[in-house]
């Protein structure tokens, strides 16, 4: 990489992400009215919900990239898998943090073993084990392949996980919130807010992944140069 190339990732993506995030923040904290039953804390919902499905979707991306890597050996695919895993894990952590922040005032407890929280914890653990494998695996190329296998196997695990946890624990209380007809997403503005926040978080995810993937690429180049220098 002798010259820096300004691609769409360098120019459009950061700006649109910023704009979207600002819009989302504005809508969530200023524009949208508080939900009737829950008050101000409920605003976290707009982030929490989107973070959650993106966290799960992130692993799907990991497994797609992993599959692509196994098929073609493209290192770019491997870097994408790695980057997606890291950002996905970040999002999962945020879900687990925003969850209790929302839960404590509403339900009175920091944590319950309800199905969605449970499966999110396990998802977090799966992400962690994937990243741990990459870290402890050593320098070999074979580890990349193992990580890819793990990525695919992990994503196969997730539907089974969801099934098992649902069978075990019943349903996420969020559904029970809609018991009262007037509560829930009554105001159409809430729907918009949800969508804007989804777009913002999605763009953020993409941007972080592209940044991280390029960092990984630079890492590889640096290591290669270093080693060449040492050998000569």
């Amino acid at each position: 990489m002798s010259e820096s190339r300004r691609t769409w990732q360098d120019t459009i993506l950061p700006w649109t992400t910023c704009v979207a995030m600002l819009a989302a923040l504005f809508m969530v904290f200023v524009l949208v009215p508080s939900e009737r039953d829950q008050g101000i804390v409920q605003r976290i919902f707009y982030f929490h919900v989107n973070l959650a499905w993106m966290a799960f979707g992130g692993f799907l991306l990991v497994s797609c990239a992993s599959f692509w890597f196994l098929r073609t050996g493209s290192r770019r695919a491997d870097r994408l898998a790695h980057a997606n895993a890291e950002v996905g894990m970040l999002y999962t952590t945020l879900v687990l943090v925003t969850g209790p922040i929302w839960a404590r005032p509403i339900w009175g407890v920091w944590w319950t073993w309800d199905p969605r929280l449970t499966m999110t914890v396990v998802l977090w653990a799966i992400y962690a084990s994937y990243l741990m494998l990459r870290r402890l695996g050593g320098e070999d190329d074979t580890i990349l392949r193992y990580a890819a296998v793990l990525g695919i196997v992990g994503s196969l695990d997730i539907p089974l996980l969801i099934l098992a946890v649902r069978l075990w624990r019943g349903v996420h209380p969020a559904v029970m919130l809609a018991k009262d007809e007037d509560a829930g997403l009554k105001d159409p503005l809430m729907g918009w807010t949800l969508m804007v926040s989804a777009i913002a978080l999605g763009l953020l995810f993409t941007w972080l992944v592209s940044l991280r993937a390029r960092l990984l690429e630079v890492d590889e180049h640096v290591a290669a140069i270093h080693l060449e220098g040492v050998r000569t």
Binding site: A125, D157, L160
Partner: protein
């Protein structure tokens, strides 16, 4: 494939180290649980089921680790990789060996733990062996794959549980619930969804292990 199974069994019969250490570890774990939690509180089918699967899992992890450490000492899976056999068969061979070991452990442990914690109120049905079987297949399937992966790294002892446990979450949930149910007399019909889930789990992961071993053995 069966050749590999027989080879592993032959080794095990000669040394007996895996079975005995597994069993001892499981027993010690039960004791630890008894000391740290009140033994009286440990009674009841849920706790019995949970304790059994926990100890089986931990002791099983030890056995899985050993199974691949032995291969490693023999020069890694290189010898097997060189041989003109299907990579998938290598996986199945190791997995079946592990499965048998775990099954024996489970068959011994479950009644033992029941005795230690008190068998009052228990009415085990025929579904119980089925649950045990399905659960052990799942552990063997995932465990063999993860052990193969972990054995090639330096931190293999610590990496194996890290890789295995999150993936086994659905299995543990299902197996424990079903075991608890089977212990108090629930029939196969009542436990149907759990049994189906376990069976699905087994099929998915045995297949993915079998398919992905090509990639695992390549250097």
């Amino acid at each position: 494939m069966w050749t590999i199974v027989r080879k592993d069994l032959a080794i095990e019969l000669r040394t007996g180290e895996m079975a005995s250490s597994m069993f001892l570890l499981a027993l010690l774990m039960v004791l630890i649980f008894a000391f740290t939690l009140e033994p009286e509180r440990l009674a009841g089918p849920e706790f019995l089921a949970g304790l059994s699967w926990t100890t089986l899992l931990v002791a099983g992890t030890l056995a899985l680790n050993r199974s691949f450490v032995l291969e490693r000492e023999a020069g890694g899976l290189t010898g097997l990789a060189l041989a003109p056999i299907d990579r998938g068969s290598i996986y199945l061979g190791k997995a079946i060996g592990n499965f048998l070991l775990l099954l024996v452990a489970g068959v011994v442990l479950l009644p033992l733990i029941a005795i230690l914690l008190g068998t009052r109120g228990l009415a085990p049905t025929m579904v119980l062996p089925l649950v045990l079987l399905l659960g052990v297949v799942g552990i063997a399937a995932i465990g063999t794959l993860c052990a193969a992966i972990a054995s090639r790294t330096r931190a293999r002892e610590v990496l194996l549980p890290i890789l295995m446990f999150p993936l086994l979450a659905p299995l543990l949930i299902g197996a424990t619930r079903a075991t608890a149910g089977a212990l108090v007399g629930e029939s196969a019909g009542e436990l149907q969804s759990w049994l189906l889930m376990l069976a699905g789990f087994d099929i998915v992961f045995a297949t993915s292990g079998w398919l992905s071993f090509d990639y695992i053995l390549e250097e």
